[in-house]
Symmetry: D2
Subunit: 363 residues, 4 copies
């Protein structure tokens, strides 16, 4: 496994879904950043399941603890270790069905790669719960970016085929936490909830699309030819379980456009160079161009569904039928919204440090 | 800049479009692999413009030279440096229009990031020509993968809105090099050529979609949670200029599917575990599952178009009009096909070495 | 800071001397290795001060906890997080004297680099206590190496000018833990103790030299030209506070030898190629040659001494006098012995994995 | 192999002693640095054998060529590839004796590690000639450091047991290139020459010690706990063939000192904090403290000697006798002096960039 990400702002994730804890170490954070457990808790809480979306029942208390790297309320330059102890764990169901490979999950690949030694309980290291470690790191990253006025915001733009209407950034900012779907279009959010409820009622699940936006990113972030801004953001976003597609700006739609449509004309705006449109999603040649970074992420439908599924019993090597018990999110897209923000923030922090925009010590 | 990619099988690209050469160093290649200049030349030639698609006129001779790393026709374990000298270069047009930012290109971001010191001629380091270095490295990678029976094949599946019909792998393999579009559907290829010609006639360009497939990839490649197979493949593919989207398996379509549709049921086939469908694109939990790896890449329409475009003169800081002279591909998608294959092969080599599947010495 | 080390077997250290804990994450450890808290505790206990050397008085209970990465007593392939909670901390002395730069310590450099935000208590991140995290990682590494029959052993060969007589490996193995100095020569150990006692009595301290030996290292570890076995071992050993010199084989003495003396003649022994002498310290061209790896490490005298020292008050920017209170080791060399073993083991593990000698899963 | 070094200022070495060329790619160099081939040639020429030391007879013309990364005489931010074509190569002697393992050389380890595929001619990748690539990279690094007023200077302080008298920095600077030994003490240099001549006359060789000094290094370079300034300098220096020991400041002598002697008292000098002595070699806690960085490097005697040596014929697996033909340096220490400077400069550049002291663009 490789559980570290970032060249100068490096996060190392550890922990398992049903182990003792999930945690993350952040190395390379400048000294002098004010950080409290509450700062991080707030972001982690946004990732928690909302009762109204009838998410997984685990009463995750999820109290963030800072184990190292701060002193008198400020970062010290030393690695910051953040931890959440796992509580309220019941692994009995997993023990019972451990030989039945859950379709869409990593049961099979993890078992093969780690010779059956992997902690399978609750998906172990492949659980969505691991994204709590991303969000803890993201909380630090977002604080740091805010010093350079960089803002990262993500929102749900599609669930189960229901699309949100495009909204201005102010409205997105205002609405995104007003409904459990993190959708900036309240009407679409209502429909999405119905689609989710319907799927759940049928023992099924739905997927969705999240849009991530980064504002006030200065020109010059990205280190091509290999560490492009698109490339590293994509890599970071594919670390989120269930993400199967990533596109920037006009993305796949660009493949159907003419060059005359898709090229963003350069203009002068407020005495600075800008572009009239943003089909590039804020990135040219792998480097930020000063426009908003716009990325869209496809999230597959939840793999754990109540319906009977065909599978294999890996111990007996014979066909089998699986019924996943327990309460599972019928749509995990909304919970991935703060995770998308977090991985974007971590990536932008790293590039900002590489470009010398974030200093070694904050004054 | 960061011009190295890969952890154990590491490629380092260098050179500029109108400089003396383009080259690549491959470090970490096992010793004992038979390699000749012809082996690499063959792959580089596939990337060359075909006259029938009326691509860029540069009479690129593009002779590959091996500068280091082989001895008596075999790799030695030492870094392999591969080089193509640039010839037939005319930079006069670029000198004349250097202050006019070309929309869709890296002129603006590169100029800002490198303080105007970047070699702007022909796009310099941001030129499509740099992908010749990817293809040289890919040629080595593909030879290496073939030792483990792993095959990588890419083909054009859409251009300018014209979609190819899905084809079986045998037909793809047979047809892909039979037309200049690297499209496995001959009829669609004909239509695509017409669409490209029409765009060119109108001083415009079109984009497209490439599908990359890797066959016989063993279970277990990928090092989550951060070095997932999807994440690193995506990062590698976004290093190809003009790529704006990457998706695996059902990709963005998964967002509109039910879990019951999108989950791939596990089955037993020829005594081994397999899946009945391949919506996962061969990857579960960031790790290969033994099914074909399937990735699709969105290529934007060529940025250089003959039509007049609105832009900015960065020296005078005033609005301006740009007419790009010279012959440019009206569609670069076909030329990107061997590049997609190459970056996939380099990534798979690296993961194969990390998983201990490729040895330090080939016997 | 960069607190990670190792390319495939990667350790990430965190924590501070007077913070909540010290810990380490080990990423890339093969699955299937049996590991218990007791295994690691044993190694950590060897680093603890012995009463007979009248070391630092802190009654370190130092209970190792495994937070992640094992399941049913075996490693899982996931990152292993090991932690020791700090107890019995009294930082009041440090608070009182924080403006007085302690000569030989990192007070000044850390304060400058981290803008005064560094946790200065007990040296914070620069304390010898951080080496407990090295030893925890080393415990895992040594277990892993033992699977390949590789053994790492270190011993004190000089303290305060008293040199131990050269001993055979069997005697070293037998004697090294029989005295608190980890010295294989019992008579020299007695003298060393007296030298230490004398220095302590005079409010002073002494340094020493440790020799590290790795046995049964197969031919072929090391990745030149930059990741030589010497280079990475040296880098790892210089991470131990107070180490100021590293040499291999005949080391600095080689500078005074003739080539005819220093070259190790090749011989055939038990049907295998070997060398008659080992001036190379087991490394030729940066690669292990099958002979014992022999490295020597110079440890400076403890910086904290009871004698009055001239220094500067950094807040007032004026000359000052410092008397370090509290009980400090008059010689830290013995406590560094298990740390040398640990950093050697971690480095060898990494190279063994890079050479494909350690598998992804242990069966 | 791993042939890259440096995190932000990254050099990648390639080429073989008797292959087509030796070369290096430097990635991460800021844009805007004036660089010409002559700048680099000058440093490379310093590494060339001097006739007066009767070094290896190869009439190396060694013309440096810049293949990429500069434009109009300035660096562009793109990777800089520097190359020297090999000329005047006669490999016949090596072909004849290839089965005879040369004691002290990498013949055995390279042959084992690379399965006999390694290019053995002239030592191939393990030849001292590879250090020309270090010197080329060092030439760029030194130019870059000079912008921050950092100066790196190395000199021979001991050869064959003859020690140079300690000299002030001005005298070192003045004398170092006045004799072929790069020794700042002219009298000692004379004696050293005699010792070398005597050894050569006896078909033997001698070793020596080089001291490297870096001046005006600001406080704060070094990224502990693992990327300490000592650790990375040591790693870089051990990449130089024949180096077997590295020590900083008082080094191994510290092991015999009392703490009261070895601690450097802090003082105020010219309104800034300094130390009265420099036993620390300019590094405290792995971080530069503003004093001169002082490192000493032990160079073993040349392995290639004319005397008959006992060895093994690896093909026949039987004892054999070797007489190395051709003219070889009887002491390689002097030629390593510019290489020590180069590897120090490359390392300091990397740390300066990591600390944000060197900008992305030079203005």
């Amino acid at each position: 496994m490789n559980d570290s990400y970032g060249k100068l702002f490096t996060i190392t994730s550890f922990g398992e879904s049903h182990g003792r804890c999930v945690g993350v170490t952040i190395d390379g954070c400048p000294a002098g950043l004010p950080v409290t457990e509450e700062d991080i808790q707030r972001e982690v809480d946004r990732r928690r399941p909302s009762t109204s979306t009838a998410s997984t029942a685990r009463a995750e208390e999820d109290r963030v603890e800072i184990l190292s790297g701060t002193f008198n309320g400020f970062t010290t330059g030393a690695p910051i270790c953040l931890l959440i102890w796992n509580r309220d764990i019941n692994s009995s169901e997993y023990e019972k069905t451990r030989s039945l490979l859950r379709p869409g999950h990593a049961d099979y690949t993890a078992s093969m790669k780690y010779g059956g030694f992997n902690d399978f309980r609750g998906g172990g290291r492949f659980s969505g719960r691991i994204t709590a470690t991303f969000v803890m790191a993201g909380a630090i990253a977002r604080k740091l970016l805010s010093l350079a006025d960089i803002e990262v915001i993500a929102h749900t733009i599609e669930i189960g085929g229901v699309k949100a209407l495009p909204k201005e950034i102010d409205e997105i900012r205002k609405n995104v936490d007003r409904n459990p779907l993190h959708c900036a279009d309240p009407e679409a959010a209502g429909e999405m909830l119905q689609v989710i409820e319907k799927a759940r009622g049928e023992g099924d699940s739905v997927g969705g699309i999240i849009e991530g936006i980064a504002l006030n990113v200065p020109v010059g972030l990205g280190e091509p030819v290999f560490d492009t801004l698109e490339g590293d953001l994509a890599k970071a976003l594919f670390a989120i379980p269930a993400v199967k597609g990533v596109e920037f700006g006009s993305g796949f739609a660009a493949a159907r456009k003419r060059g005359s449509e898709n090229n963003d004309p350069f203009i002068i705006k407020n005495g600075r160079i800008s572009t009239a449109t943003n089909n590039a999603g804020g990135i040219l040649g792998g480097i930020s161009n000063g426009m908003p970074i716009v990325v869209r992420v496809a999230v597959k439908p939840t793999s754990s569904i109540a319906q009977k599924q065909q599978t294999v019993n890996i111990e007996k090597m014979e066909s089998a039928t699986l019924e996943v018990r327990g309460r599972h999110d019928a749509c995990i897209t909304p919970r991935a919204v703060p995770v998308v923000e977090s991985m974007m923030a971590v990536t932008l922090c790293d590039f900002a440090m590489r470009a010398g925009i974030l200093p070694e010590v904050i004054k």
